[in-house]
Assembly symmetry: C3
Homo-oligomer: 184 residues x 3
């Protein structure tokens, strides 16, 4: 009988300790993982039909149809870009990437991002919301997933982004690899 | 005795399992719930005394006193709006809603929001900070409560917003139903 | 035997209760604590070599080289400021503070902040991302640390900021006392 009680104690202890560990040291592998692409076409004064974004803020030395000198420092761009599942601009969009970015360095290419993914399809409903820094010359970089709504209720995580393609200063395509570490 | 040990094992198991569940599957009913209204009066060049917000960014086809064509795409608005407990613009404000929104779609009414509620009264002290997307034609929609300070230290949650009333393109009133799911 | 079973039950209960408490009531002392300074030099049309920020949005009554009347209401400023470990502008920077602030009150000095600290040194690698309200006349105030990447992966917390020094409307220095309450 003593042996069985000791075993029981050990068993409980094991359960409790493993649970405690799972609580204190959270999981570092994503609880959910999604990959998307989005496509940005900056308005340049002549591409109104195709443009998905527009310069809406500029420093004193800039204007609203050409990204400014000095690495575009001070340009604020508002966008509503199609999200696709693959890297093809002509694929059927599964959602929209909406928000803004601003170029914020005078000596290199860096952007500060604040935007949301908006989904309203049979596959995904809700929003995923991002904030972070994009040093454009670095191949892959991490930004924050500050939270979500709908299917992504209260989720938090990290998005690894990279500029998958670009053409001049009018088109670029971003690959967004979303890893949620807090799922609800 | 064997029966009592079995019962004990079952009892421990029950405790541990229910705890594990409470840890893995967090609560989905709010730990705190608040409702506010805020009132936005956009500056139009003539209402300086009453205006609580101003257009500060516009696309090339816009200006700073009239919201732009194409669903106001590209307009950036900075605001400092009174918060009230009911839907009456003339009620005594209990705080201020401060930040910005930007219209970010060319084909429908959509805004991206980044703002904070600032309280400094006997009832509430601190800030609640929001980010998210507002598709204006959808009756109710969810945005993020990314965090708080003071009385709302480290809180996270969801705010359900709806445009409770509006007059032309100068006045609108937003109802904000805040549900915190992480309280500290 | 009954006594040992009772003791075992008590022991399990104790473990479970203490664990439950540690889960429900999170720690309120920081799990990590860092202090930095950053230095902002606003472009005024003449200080291009030194300026670390620029006005990129203004209300109808403003312009892009002088902060506007009415407590700068409506000015949007984009910045890329050096971060130092002490309050000396000439110290070797340990990172960059990048993002934007906007003045959002007509009757007093208040700014809304959205920015990131970017580190890429032997000491720190990664980003810390901030959002919040800065009532400039209040000595110290709290803003949110909404999350981090790299060394600050998924961290959340509060940053207490104060304007450590300023010169006219061109230079100011912010002290940022970062307390993380969620570390990973």
């Amino acid at each position: 009988m003593k042996a069985s009680a000791t075993f029981l104690l050990f068993f409980c202890h094991l359960l409790v300790v493993s649970l405690a560990n799972s609580g204190m040291k959270r999981q570092y592998h994503p609880c959910r993982h999604l990959v998307f692409y989005f496509h940005d076409v900056v308005y340049n004064g002549q591409n109104d039909a195709n443009a998905t974004s527009a310069i809406v803020g500029a420093p004193q030395w800039g204007n609203l149809t050409i990204l400014a000198d000095k690495f575009h420092f001070g340009n604020v761009v508002v966008f509503d870009d199609p999200i696709t599942l693959d890297n093809n601009f002509h694929s059927v969009p599964v959602g929209r990437a909406q928000g803004m970015y601003l170029y914020d360095t005078k000596y290199t290419w860096t952007a500060w991002l604040g935007f949301s993914f908006v989904f309203n399809s049979t596959q995904h409903k809700g929003t995923i919301n991002f904030i972070g820094v994009d040093p454009l010359l670095v191949k892959t970089k991490d930004i924050l997933v500050v939270g979500g709504t709908g299917d992504f209720f209260m989720h938090r995580g990290i998005a690894t982004i990279n500029t998958d393609s670009f053409e001049g200063e009018v088109y670029f395509r971003l690959r967004v690899d979303i890893k949620f570490y807090e799922c609800w």
